[in-house]
């Protein structure tokens, strides 16, 4: 076999069919110069193969780029769950809109100032406590005065009754004394007048 008909490079690069590979391998065993050439080519290929692949510094980023994204209506149209969710969302929005639009009393939710509310509550509680205490004190004083008046009146009535009885008793005693005195006076007068008549 002629050395010029042997394609060692194609052999090393794996481009030969199986039938050719055997023919080249047989020739190389017998031909020293082709054997050396094959060794040099193998070493070259080995050196080239030692170069490792490098990792890309970052992932290809444009997958998230706008140009890759289908339009919103395409995504929605292609997705059954999204369509269902969108329908539910539209229904919920309609209910909410109805709730806001209907002429019901609108409640404005303002920001709650807890400190002010607390102050207001304390003031209200204090005011109510003062009122209740004042009313209780007033009622107690009034009851006490009433009770004292009633007791005083009772005592006074009892004293008046006592003094009236005493007066009546004294009056009766005085009257009795006066009657006695009048009787004595009359007796004395009678006695004196009897003496004069005897004297005449």
């Amino acid at each position: 076999m002629n050395c010029s008909s042997i394609d060692l490079k194609a052999y090393v690069l794996g481009e030969l069919p199986e039938s050719e590979k055997g023919r080249v391998a047989g020739h190389v065993r017998d031909c020293a110069s082709c054997g050396e050439e094959l060794e040099r080519l193998n070493l070259t290929h080995l050196a080239l193969a030692s170069l490792r692949e490098e990792e890309a510094p970052r992932r290809i980023a444009f997958v998230s780029d706008k140009v890759f994204e289908p339009r919103w209506w395409q995504r929605m149209w292609q997705s059954g769950p999204v369509m269902g969710f969108a329908s539910a969302a539209v229904l919920a929005c309609a209910i909410l809109a109805h709730g806001f639009i209907r002429p019901a009393a609108r409640q404005q939710v303002a920001a709650v100032d807890t400190a002010a509310v607390e102050r207001q509550v304390n003031a209200e509680v204090n005011a109510r406590l003062n009122t209740v205490v004042t009313q209780a004190v007033t009622r107690a004083v009034s009851d006490s005065e009433t009770r004292q008046k009633r007791e005083t009146a009772t005592l006074l009535a009892a004293a008046e009754q006592k003094y009236e009885l005493q007066r009546k008793y004294d009056l009766a005693a005085f009257q009795s004394n006066v009657d006695v005195l009048r009787k004595q006076t009359a007796q004395m007068y009678m006695a004196s007048s009897g003496l004069e008549m005897r004297a005449q």
């Binding site: 050196a47 080239l48 692949e53 490098e54 510094p57 992932r59 444009f62 890759f68």
Partner: protein
């Protein structure tokens, strides 16, 4: 590989119907290979990254023009080739191999990093066409016919570029390879 091709076909079919998730999986499968191909070709990580983004963007925009989903890899590398050479033509003139191998003598055993540097240096001394031919053949494993499709050249031209590059690399890297595997 058969399953991978079948899955790629399925993903491509979905992506052609506008399925972004399917295309995202395709990107994740191919981005490392495309990035490394572009990196070895242009020699700059940032430029390679930007080019990778452009490649996948153009692929997405033109996916419906891909007639045979089984040729997706060739088609994708064709886009990458066009993008890379557009940049190379804009950035710098053609760089030809000077033919002065610096690591020709056998010496002490090389560390892996030295071997890597030697290979990278040897690759940069090839012309852009030769380097691309080696990248597609050795690192991406394409057949000559597939390379011809990617690069839009006859198979004979491809073969000529690969063989010429191998001859040049052999002078530089055969001794290095020998020291590296001692």
């Amino acid at each position: 590989m058969i399953f991978r091709e079948v899955e790629d076909r399925d993903l491509i079919a979905k992506a052609r119907r506008g399925d972004v998730d399917a295309y995202s999986i395709l990107v994740s499968r191919w981005e490392k290979r495309i990035f490394n191909y572009l990196l070895r070709l242009v020699g700059n990580r940032e430029e390679a990254m930007d080019l990778s983004q452009d490649v996948f963007l153009k692929a997405w925009q033109n996916l419906k023009k891909l007639e045979d989903a089984g040729r997706f890899s060739s088609w994708l590398f064709r886009i990458a080739h066009n993008e890379a050479f557009s940049l190379l033509r804009k950035n710098r003139p053609e760089v030809e191999l000077t033919g002065d191998p610096t690591v020709a003598d056998r010496g002490p055993r090389l560390f892996p990093v030295e071997l890597t540097l030697a290979v990278e240096r040897a690759l940069t001394r090839l012309s852009d066409d030769q380097r691309e031919a080696i990248l597609l053949k050795v690192y991406q494993g394409f057949k000559f016919e597939e390379m011809a499709e990617i690069l839009g050249c006859p198979v004979s031209t491809i073969k000529s570029r690969v063989y010429a590059a191998l001859d040049l690399l052999k002078d530089t890297l055969a001794p290095v390879g020998a020291r590296g595997v001692q």
